[in-house]
Amino acid sequence: MGEQIQNLLLIAVGSAFVNNVVLSQFLGICPFLGVSKNVKTAAGMGSAVVFVITIASFVTGLIYKFILGNPNIMGGELEYLNTIVFILVIAALVQFVEMVLKKSMPSLYNALGVYLPLITTNCAVLGVALTNVQEGYDILTGVVNGFATAAGFLVSIVLMAGIREKIEHNDITESFQGTPIVLVTAGLMAIAFFGFSGLI
């Protein structure tokens, strides 16, 4: 039991900081650059991603365990359908989560609602689902991995938004205004995150 918890912790730290989803794997660059203009929206986007990725890794984990990777169905040879099934499940799941939130938790919906539809095409969600399968994680490990990856996304997008709010008032060469300076900042953050690589 203790060993398992230690293992989960290692995976969590690994995917949140060492292999940060944005800064070292480049998944979810679009929202990272597009929705990081101020801390509040960045935090909203980040929390929506945490929410969706955690649920998505649970659901895709279930589907893989009981249908696609199940040796009793078609001799367990349905794995080639992973990509197709996962992307459709994620798209449907996001719509479903949106409807449930709207109906039963209006306050949470008001906070996260606008970001939910955007997440369907966020490659981080599909990336996490596929990584879980490739690494052979069981459902619990998969959910922990998903949550940690998304937490890594939340941390980096909020940090980036904080830095961008300060950059606004700086005097930047004309050509570097806008996206280029954000990319340079992201590069420096990526170097900083290299510091975590000694952790595990």
Binding site: F26, G28, I29, L33, T83, V114, T121, S175
Partner: protein, 238 residues
């Protein structure tokens, strides 16, 4: 110029997905550690793009408008799976170095964007050439970035040593931060050209990609990005 060559020219130069539209930034940053990886990723995407454009264009009168996005995604995902297996079978080395990014071609903005904005409205032949042009434009973009990063990061091009042995490689360029720095310089260059054009009063091509936020992403129809911008703008004003 006839329609087919016009589509190829459009994809390669006028609306180059990497240098002009800035689409598909995730693979652009992730796989360009070497020129070989760049060209491999570019060609895989081209194959998927050509096939999916062809099939979607054939089915454009059959697919009902309200479910077109899921239908497109299924078509694209099927071709990505085929490409995934072909690469695993015939070029295992490339397959290993591209890894997770091959299945992730499914969520590449360029493919769904072309399906939505071109293939679903045009006949088969122009759609195929549109896919070919866009795909080759993407391949050229990835290969150029790959060459720059590989040359500075390891002194090699396509795995061959070109710089003298006395050159000390700047390893950071083939690591994650280097990708951001190279792309930053590229976008800055693009901005400079645009500003010059604007000063001379010429027409400026619009970037459609991540730089302009998700609202401009090719698959905003799938994700409702327009809604996000309008609502966050409202929130910002409050």
């Amino acid at each position: 110029m006839n329609k087919c060559t016009e589509r190829i020219f459009n994809g390669l130069v006028k609306e180059n997905p990497t240098f002009v539209l800035m689409l598909g930034m995730c693979p652009t940053l992730a796989v360009t550690t070497s020129a070989t990886n760049g060209i491999g990723m570019g060609l895989s995407t081209t194959a998927v793009l050509v096939m999916s454009n062809m099939l979607i264009s054939m089915l454009r009168k059959i697919i009902p408008d309200s479910v077109r996005m899921p239908a497109f995604i299924v078509v694209v995902a099927s071709f990505v799976t085929i490409v995934d297996f072909l690469l695993e079978g015939f070029v295992p080395g490339l397959y290993d170095s591209l890894g997770l990014y091959i299945p992730l071609i499914v969520v590449n903005c360029i493919i769904l964007g072309r399906a939505e904005s071109y293939a679903s409205k045009n006949p088969v032949l122009p759609s195929v050439f549109d896919g070919l042009g866009m795909g080759l434009g993407f391949t050229v973009g990835l290969t150029c970035i790959g060459i720059v990063r590989e040359l500075i990061g390891s002194g090699m091009i396509f795995g061959h040593q070109v710089l003298p042995d006395s050159y000390v490689p700047v390893t950071i360029f083939i690591l994650a931060p280097g990708a951001f720095f190279v792309l930053a310089c590229l976008v800055a260059l693009q901005n400079k050209i645009k500003n010059n054009l604007a000063r001379k009063g010429k027409k400026v091509p619009e970037a459609a990609g991540c730089g302009a936020g998700c609202a401009a992403c090719g698959n905003r129809a799938a994700c409702g990005g327009h809604m996000l911008t309008s609502e966050t703008d409202k929130k910002d004003k409050e």
